[in-house]
Symmetry: C2
Subunit: 235 residues, 2 copies
């Protein structure tokens, strides 16, 4: 059994959400059931890149993670694309045996029984600016599958006020889920430098529109890796 892997890199710091700043090795799965308008990982999504995805056994994936971390257990973030398309249960089983912790990032469109074994499940439903509509029934199935996971949180990317209204409705639907918002990044070309002033201005805008207007529930965070490395890949 093999999995399609777009890239494995690290250790670096997690740039987003509840584990922000945490030393992490990233395992990025190839393939996605979504095609968000502003996707920042098209190389793991668009089937035009399919030739660059490597079929790897769970043991080969963990061997690479082990090599990168020098054998020190750390947090492994499984992302994509949508990694829930494939079966990561064996990877998680091998890794946890050795003390590695696993976080999974998925939009919540496909539920898997193995979510129950995760240390952290990050559900990031996609707001209207993505061009997708959320199927909340499927999202709820993901939540149910993760009932016994270490922690489950919700993370939403915000480009505009319509996205913000969506985030509020998502929170009303799942008030028990810790909520993290981050400004969307329209500059996703890995060849172009990121404008730091504009990146921080977007964060300021998001804080003004939430905390500044009395919505005190979500935690507001940047994409740290964009601030640090721009859109460079592999960091």
């Amino acid at each position: 059994m093999t999995l399609r892997i777009a890239e494995i890199f690290g250790p670096t710091v997690q740039g987003e959400g509840i584990l922000i700043g945490e030393p992490t090795v990233f395992v990025r799965a190839g393939g996605c059931d979504y095609r968000c308008a502003w996707c920042d990982s098209l190389h793991a999504v668009d089937s035009a890149y399919r030739d660059t995805w490597v079929p790897m056994t769970p043991e080969a994936i963990m061997a690479e993670v082990r090599r990168l971390s020098g054998g020190q257990p750390l947090t492994v973030s499984i992302s994509g694309g949508n990694p829930a398309i494939q079966d990561f249960a064996p990877v998680i089983a091998i890794g946890q045996e050795e003390g590695y912790r696993f976080a999974l990032e998925t939009q919540g469109s496909i539920a898997q029984d193995w979510f129950a074994g995760l240390d952290t499940l990050v559900l990031s439903p996609k707001p209207p600016s993505s061009g997708h509509r959320t199927d909340w029934l499927k999202f709820d199935r993901c939540l149910a599958a993760a009932e016994r996971a270490g922690q489950t949180v919700m993370k939403i990317v915000i480009f505009d006020k319509t996205d913000l209204a969506y985030a509020r409705a998502a929170h009303d639907r799942h008030p028990q889920l810790p909520l993290f918002l981050q400004p969307g990044n329209p500059e996703v070309d890995p060849q172009s430098p990121v404008d730091l002033d504009q990146t921080t201005a977007r964060l300021r805008w998001l804080i003004d529109e939430t905390v500044g207007k009395g919505w005190l529930t979500p935690r507001i965070l940047p994409q740290l890796h964009v601030l640090i490395w721009g859109n460079q890949r592999g960091v």
Copy 2:
């Protein structure tokens, strides 16, 4: 009974450490037993500013927090100066009754029984670049006082490799404490703009010197408020 308060402001987002991104009202106490070489809050430390510190009763402090948050319970961060010099127990008691949560930031030089009632205690022992030496006996007393607090974490500011060695030793001494490192900020003049490129370069350096060299324990975070607002006060 009154407390010396340098400023109360917010709601804004917590810029540092374990609660980074969390909507927060800050209560900054006046007065400090330390005088760090790179202090970014001299207006709450140096007795030259003593005239600007307002004596407030616990009820008056919570009335101001309530006014700022529109009566919505949120996280209140008590900082300074060293807020452990004074008795914040009554403030915490009044606030928690109404659903407010309390975090305290202190260097760990003065222990108080009321640490036990905190939701979050952030102990930030000062590295050699501060010009101070840590009295670990006093630090341990702070830890003991906070045994029943919600969570206790350690946060250390890093300016150079000597500070990094100190952080490693601090972690070896208290391996059970979640550890957060942040790059020091040498640009603390509120009148001068912060250089974003240099600020992110310092974060990159710290990641290179920790994660990049196989030290995978600490979480590495920026001072978000410096990235967003520079050294402006009241945000």
